[in-house]
């Protein structure tokens, strides 16, 4: 929660067309800030501008409109800014990040107080790890969006090594209600399972966040051995180039 007094104002400049893992970069940054519980952030789209590459991006000529400048701004305490800065560095890519001292005269008020969540960066990889399986329903919601989507985004923001969602075709759980996928009705409350792998330490640290989000369901943990955990950066680059 941001209090009145000295704080930092961070501004990140990126291009509208910049991508990060298949989504637009500015929304990836906004999601990251949201799930790291930054007090607030605003994205503004510029009308025209140029940056490090000295290309003029403008709306002037309709046909050439593209990659307009996007500005993401947020105000936070110096400690919180330090905490998210390394990840922002990585996210911003070729964009510019600016930090200035500012003074909060009147903090924004929220209707209800939310507990401040501690962040846990630093991803360690070791041979012994834990697999967490979360069983929920497709229709479960959190903050107005599907719970499974919110969980994935919150895991990404908390630097969890990886997660996969599986959609079941039939099942029941704690509330004894059968969830099923029937082609005839448009009721789509299928059972969903998220399988998450990371170190025990990371998963336990993330659990309070998960606990607050999952209102009904089952969470179990088991031992796994990590055999391989790699990413082919070269292939990702190739795919990017192949895309128009």
């Amino acid at each position: 929660m941001l209090k009145a007094g000295p704080a930092k104002k961070v501004t990140i400049y990126v291009g509208e067309d910049h991508q990060y893992h298949g989504q637009s970069l500015y929304s990836a940054i906004l999601n990251f800030l949201f799930y790291r519980r930054i007090s607030g952030a605003t994205v503004t789209r510029g009308l025209a501008g140029f940056g490090g590459d000295h290309h003029l991006h403008t709306t002037r000529i309709e046909a050439l409109t593209g990659d307009l400048p996007m500005k993401i701004e947020f105000i936070e305490s110096a400690e919180k800014v330090d905490e998210v800065l390394p990840k922002l560095h990585e996210l911003a890519g070729t964009g510019l990040i600016e930090i200035q001292d500012t003074m909060v005269v009147k903090p924004a008020e929220t209707s209800k107080k939310k507990p401040v969540q501690e962040a846990h960066p630093s991803l360690k990889r070791e041979s012994k790890a834990k697999m967490m399986r979360i069983f929920i329903g497709e229709n479960d919601k959190w903050g107005g969006q599907p719970l499974y989507k919110a969980l994935i985004e919150s895991m990404r923001a908390n630097d969890i090594a990886g997660v996969t969602i599986y959609q079941g075709i039939l099942g029941y759980g704690a509330n004894r209600r059968i969830h099923k996928d029937s082609a005839l009705h448009l009721s789509h409350d299928r059972p969903m399972m998220l399988s998450v792998v990371d170190t025990e330490e990371k998963l336990l640290a993330y659990f309070p966040v998960l606990d607050g989000m999952v209102q009904q369901g089952l969470v179990v943990m088991s031992e796994v051995d990590i055999i391989k955990y790699t990413h082919d950066f070269a292939a990702t680059e190739r795919r990017k180039e192949a895309r128009p």
Binding site: M132, R133, F135, Y166, Q167, G168, I169, L170, G171, Y172, G173, A174, N175, R176, R177, I178, P191, M193, F207, L210, D211, V214, Q215, Q216, G217, L218, V219, V220, M221, S222, E223
Partner: protein, 115 residues
């Protein structure tokens, strides 16, 4: 219904076309689990696989041949799972049943969400 601490997870692998008493096997298994008051069961459909019969199973969207690989995941206390095992043994003619240890971290439901 309470479930906490150490529990067992059962995974049963078979085909979507497998039947038991003229009814899809996966449905029969889920119903049997409910009968035994097992904490929960979920059926997942795979997109490709092979197993004991070394037959490649695949879902075809164009043809209506639908023998996709299925996996049923069942979690409960060891005692409850042991009760289920002999019944499963009878029901699953061709397939694989695997068991592993799991730690239950959370098991909750909201009353009144029932539909």
């Amino acid at each position: 219904m309470k479930l906490a601490g150490t529990a067992k997870m059962l995974r049963i692998y078979f085909g979507e076309d497998d039947k038991w008493n003229d009814k899809p096997l996966y449905r029969a298994i889920v119903e049997k689990c409910r009968e035994l008051d097992i904490a929960g069961a979920t059926v997942f459909r795979g997109i490709e696989g092979y197993g004991a019969s070394t037959l490649i199973r695949r879902t075809h969207h164009l043809t209506f041949s639908h023998d996709a690989p299925l996996m049923v995941s069942v979690i409960d206390s060891e005692e409850k799972i042991q009760k289920l095992l002999p019944l499963l043994d009878e029901m699953v003619d061709e397939g694989l049943i695997a068991m592993s240890d799991v730690e239950v971290i959370k098991y909750v439901h909201q009353d009144g969400v029932r539909s």
